[in-house]
């Protein structure tokens, strides 16, 4: 039995009609993505699949940034750690995919636990946290590049074996179709898990820290401890996303752990509307799609677009697409998903 004290933390209020509407809208969206393979071509399917996997990464950052106000500007540290753990284990040590994924989760969350202990307990918050975490992914990238014999250095690793499970002594290897549904299932589960998690009592503790950490401390909450837990959960999800992403691509490169990806995921979240969970998933789809379009015109154009996106999201769209929705009045439909300004 789960101890009562723990159960109380996840206790939920009854769903309001508006929240039911919101969840049904999400359900319809998931079903639409689920039936897309009926008419989508294989290229379109791979694009949607990659976006679904990356949207777990977007969710992990939105959980941290939107729900606790810690902006990790180097979240690719954990995505990349998961990717490299998966790649190295399945490629170099021939372990099964399950061991690879579990190791990715454990290693990504251990890195977060260590770094988070040093930073969060030292009282590093807000802009200081942003900067130090940016440095964190730069450190991680330097380490990966400095070990060419182990990680493949600048070139990375190729020929990562596909996802395969042993199920009742029957070997199942994931093909493109089953990977698509695995990606859909994982991202839907992550979304619902985080949505209910932040809605419950534990979410309320996090919210009280978000609005006023000192006041939350006055009420007896060990805020550093809770923030550390949120950081570790977020890192674990990022690691999961990285591990699955690297097997679908079959390669892993230092780009997956560096500042370029780390800052791009911030744009996904900001475009979608920080703190809304669903928004960043949509933002991820939009931005990843846009990157493909723009990169097909010119590869050097994309960083320029990213740069402009950063300036715009600070000055013009502090709530991302939620800002636009507010101009048109659509946001009233999505009251269940309240967002936060970028401060």
């Amino acid at each position: 039995m789960i101890p009562n004290r723990i159960r109380i933390l996840f206790q939920q209020e009854r769903l309001s009609p508006r929240e039911k509407g919101f969840l049904s809208a999400v359900g319809v969206l998931m079903v639409l993505i689920g039936v897309y393979p009926l008419w989508g071509d294989s290229y379109g399917l791979s694009v949607v699949r990659d976006s679904l996997i990356l949207s777990i990464f977007a969710l992990s950052l939105d959980f941290l940034w939107g729900k606790t106000d810690l902006l990790c500007f180097g979240h690719s540290t954990f995505f990349g750690t998961g990717a490299y753990a998966m790649a190295l284990l399945t490629l170099k040590y021939q372990t099964s995919s399950v061991v690879g994924i579990l190791a990715a989760l454990v290693i990504a969350s251990s890195v977060a636990l260590l770094a988070g202990y040093f930073l969060i307990y030292a009282g590093v918050r807000r802009q200081y946290f942003v900067i130090v975490t940016l440095a964190l992914c730069m450190i991680a990238q330097q380490i990966v590049i400095s070990l060419p014999g182990f990680t493949g250095g600048d070139a990375g690793l190729i020929d990562i074996p596909p996802l395969a499970f042993s199920f009742f002594s029957k070997d199942v290897t994931f093909n493109d179709d089953s990977l698509y549904f695995l990606a859909l299932g994982l991202s839907a589960a992550t979304f619902l898990g985080l949505w209910f998690f932040t809605r419950g009592n534990y979410g309320k503790i996090l919210k009280s820290i978000l609005y006023n950490e000192t006041r939350a401390q006055t009420f007896g909450h060990n805020t550093s401890f809770h923030l550390l837990i949120a950081f570790v959960i977020s890192a674990m999800l990022a690691g999961l996303s990285g591990a699955i992403y690297t097997v679908t691509q079959g390669i892993v490169t230092p780009d997956l752990i560096g500042p370029v990806l780390a800052t791009e995921v911030v744009v996904w979240v900001a475009v979608g509307g920080r703190g809304t969970l669903l928004g960043p998933m949509i933002g991820c789809f939009l931005v990843v799609r846009m990157r493909q379009e723009i990169s097909s015109i010119s590869t050097t154009l994309w960083p320029l677009v990213m740069g402009i996106a950063f300036v715009l999201m600070v000055f013009v769209f502090p709530d991302g697409i939620v800002t636009i929705a507010r101009w048109t009045g659509i946001h009233r439909l999505f009251r269940g998903a309240e967002g936060r300004h970028i401060t």
Partner: protein, 282 residues
């Protein structure tokens, strides 16, 4: 002796560049609690001023004189267009300056190409000092940078502007009550920091490869100079620069350069954990 002295000179070169670069960053950080992630681009702009002037036949010395003014121009531009509107939004400042930094890098690449820019060293050859052969340019760099840093120290301690600046860093509201125009002080300090970074860009250009994203490598180092050294004092930046510069040179001689860089950053984070105000308290 033949290996130690050049190593010390390399170390001093890095330290003086880091201090020049870190000064502007530390002052902005001390005043606003914000890191300007586009600070690296001031250095790139300085280096590109040199390569551009040399490509049209200008001399190194002309660039050394002009670059600070180019830095001041872009510093005032960035302050007026972006930073000024974000004084109450520190996280917004970081995101916006990161965006600006990407934009400047790409615009420079569009104008000058993404390749390595040619730089002509003003001092060819070496100087023999007490029987040890040393590259002449590095000696000049360390000497010139030390002179500039000494000037900054004097301005900071002795001039009216320096007093205003220290007052605003210590307590902005109180400084304004005493009649100091805090916003103008911010603006001047920002432009001055940009000028120092651009000057650093010219000085460092002949000994590194110059390309549009060269500033980013110095940005992280300088950032750790600031957090290790503490904000708001020149002595702090000097100590931070010495620590980071020494560690990096030392590790570079013993291991893979990327691992060395990572190790320096890790050590800086650990120092940050135990001395969040930096090594030198203001």
């Amino acid at each position: 002796m033949e290996t130690i002295v050049p190593a010390i000179l390399n170390c001093l070169t890095l330290i003086s560049i880091l201090i020049l670069f870190g000064l502007g960053m530390a002052i902005i950080f001390g005043m606003m609690g914000v890191i300007n992630l586009a600070h690296g681009e001031f250095m790139t702009i300085g280096a590109f001023t040199l390569t551009f002037l040399q490509s049209i036949g200008g001399s190194y010395w002309l660039a050394l004189v002009l670059a600070p003014f180019v830095g001041i121009f872009f510093g005032l531009l960035l302050e007026g267009l972006v930073i000024r509107h974000l004084y109450t939004r520190p996280v917004g400042t970081i995101l916006a300056t990161w965006g600006i930094s990407l934009i400047i890098q790409k615009v420079l690449e569009m104008i000058f190409g993404s390749g390595i820019q040619a730089v002509f060293n003003p001092f060819k050859g070496a100087v023999s000092l007490f029987g040890i052969v040393l590259p002449a340019y590095r000696l000049f760099l360390v000497g010139f940078a030390s002179a500039v840093i000494a000037c900054c120290f004097l301005v900071f301690r002795r001039s009216r502007f320096g007093v205003d600046l220290r007052a605003v860093i210590q307590n902005r509201d109180m400084a304004e009550v005493l009649g100091i125009h805090a916003k103008r002080t911010y603006r001047l300090a920002f432009a001055l920091g940009a000028a120092l970074a651009a000057l650093g860009g010219v000085l460092v250009a002949p000994i590194v490869t110059v390309y549009a994203t060269v500033g980013v490598t110095f940005l992280t180092k300088a950032f750790f100079v600031v957090i290790v050294g503490g904000t708001g004092t020149i002595a702090g930046v000097a100590v931070g620069g010495a620590v980071i510069g020494f560690l990096e040179t030392f590790f570079n001689y013993t291991m893979h350069p990327s691992l060395a860089r990572a190790l320096v950053l890790i050590l800086a984070v650990i120092i940050f954990r135990f001395r969040p105000q930096g090594l030198v308290r203001s």
